[in-house]
Amino acid sequence: MHALVGENGAGKSTLMKILYGMQKPDEGTITIDGEQVSFASPADAIARGIGMVHQHFMLADNLTVLENIVLGAEKLHGIGAAARAAVVEVSDRYGLNVRPDVLVEDLGVADRQRVEILKVLYRGARTLILDEPTAVLVPQEVDALFDNLRELKAEGLTVLFISHKLGEVLSVADDITVIRRGTTVASVAPGETTPKQLAELMVGSELPSPETRESTVTDTPMLTVDALHLSATDPDGVVRAVLDGIGFTIHKGEVLGIAGVEGNGQAELVEAIMGMRDPDGGTITLDGADISHAPTRKRREDGIGYVPEDRHRHGLLLQAPLWENRILGHVTEKPNSRGRLLDLKAARTDTERIVAEYDVRTPGIEVTAASLSGGNQQKLIVGREMSHHPKLLIAAHPTRGVDVGAQAQIWDQIREARREGLAVLLISADLDELIGLSDTLRVMYRGRLVADADPATVTPEELGSAMTGAASGHLEHVEDGTETGGGAAE
């Protein structure tokens, strides 16, 4: 099992694309089983036994697990009983426990990931490439995934995986390659290194930490959410509550962190506060003004900054140049416009400033957002949102898919603004980040805030059990390592 670590923009994704035949190398060779190969397309790579599990799952929600696995590989075992038998056989052999007849839309993230793994195994993969497989999982699920991977290894398969979480890399990998700025900077064995050394190899400098030193929390409430309720119609036409009885207050200078397994209402909560969904009950108050039903633009003008979870869908115009992306979301504000007209010159100048101040690595502001790496895209978004001096920043997974260097910068900027009285709603799957940055922690489960915790004492494991619904109420840290629910533990 080989781990590949490196900053975003270091070339990991490019390397993966080359290995999977999606891109052609200019020079150099790839050798599999002692045989030199060159791939013109992913089909060639698959034929050579290479399988890729992407970070963003490539599954059709409205098909069953079996259909998803067979899709595109009908030639192997057809689509009938033979295919089913083959799927079950592969699933059993590697202990994946996949249920073939469940609809993918009914599966959780961890199950979907297993389907993805099964999909490549079904195609005869002997070498598995996993792109940040743990980014979306809670600690317990990560352990289960690693058990699966060890199983694969025991069966003689090769696993190559990319991760930012160095602790995991050390615990599971047999070999580690660190790349930086497009070249290999080190090959290390996990026994001979520490997470800190590894991180320093990645960035080439000191390791950042998300820890916040002194508290800057004030008594002035900035955002108050009370009894918020939101219903949504799921694909089967059943109306159900996705947010129920949500209430919290964020003060000036406070970071409120929300932990939770993805899909438990965090995205909906953010969209309700941003005005992209209209709540059917409860109130949202920003700086004393009721904004429960105000349009998104009004909320942005009133001082909500938004670093969205999915920057490609909600934060950027990928085909537009950087300066147009700087205008996005703030078209009514200076320096982007004067009256009803755009001020292109000022917007361009200000984009140059953001690029310089926030260290967005780009050759210029005329390139499209799509040509930047993920970390640099995120720095641009953070720079844009901070440039309008928000009162409240909603940061959803602000450092997801972002390299360690950019991560440190983004944390710094959040801390900096917090000192100046910014209120932050932080949603993250990275529990270290949540614990390190937050002043207050809440846990969200099935659309409700079920638990709270003190970031100074709580451990990721304790949070993890509340995230899966195993604990609720106030999480008290107990020294012997087991956690108890201060309220009703189930």
Partner: protein, 368 residues
Amino acid sequence: MKKIDRTKLTLGIAAPVLAIVAALVITSVIILATGKDPLHAYTVMVDFGSKSDSQVWIINKAVPYYLSALAVAIGFRMNLFNIGVDGQYRIAAFFAAVVGGALTLPGFLQIPLIIIVAMLVGSVWAGIAGILKTTRGVSEVITTIMLNSIAAAVIGYFLQEGRLAVKDGNLFHTPNLPASSHFFTIPTQPDPLDGFLVVAAIAGVAYWFVLGRTRFGFDLRTVGQSESAAQAGGVSVKRMVVTSMLLSGAAAGLIGMPTLLGVSYNYGTDFPVGIGFTGIAIALLGRNHPLGMAAGALLWGFLERTGTQLEFEDYEQEIVGVMQGVIVLCVVIAYEVVRRYGQRLQQRKVGEELAAQARKTDKAEVSA
């Protein structure tokens, strides 16, 4: 920075050149396949097309084409496919003709009134599709194409003697506009140019300005590029859909005006149809760019003008239609190919420059 700009320019020229070469090659092969000489055909077309009366004809023909392309392009920029421009301009021209035929006001009142009626009717007709999309989620492709048929039926119903039309020989048409409603012409030899050319030019400038220089235009383009990003950015996508359909319809309302105010002076059973569909082809051809579409409209006029001459030279009459189709396909494909190539080039450049920067800082660190 300069390097990228130069590449951008080269790529910008590469796309149309590639498209023209490809289109010429394919058309030549097709003409050869019919057993005729392609080079002779091109010579005939260029000779005939460059005659001065042809030039006037082409320009006058291009004016409604251009307006139609603008109407379609407003939708395209928003990611809306308004196939209903055809129905919108016809029903708009019809009611404008009815209103114009019923009134006798001085020209400076009557002409603007007719144009405004046309734009209003056009936007109402397009707006129906916009409202259905936002309230009921019906695709505008379906509604606009059905509204085309409904428009034709409505016109057919009213365009009868005793309703809103008069009989003239075998034809039915709305009462003629008074002489005061005739639009001005630009005197040129041998025939005059349609004064609506000026209106088309103004519409083109307005299109460029509103889309590229105003907040509204930015919002519109944002929705076109990414609905989710637009929504998160505070654009009301629904309102934008309706607004842009209204605008598209208003622009569509102008399409019939050069004919109504400058040629026919009434709406009859022989009023030109199908310009809305031509507009789709020209908007594609011109890449929704105001100048590109102007070139496209002129090219279209040129092909139609010279196509008639090809018939006299014993070529198949369908060859012009084939050419038009081939050109649109070649342009769309060529631009997409060049765009993808350009994007890859850019990504590589970004990577290279960053690597170069990194090497520089590495060296600095070493020497420090």
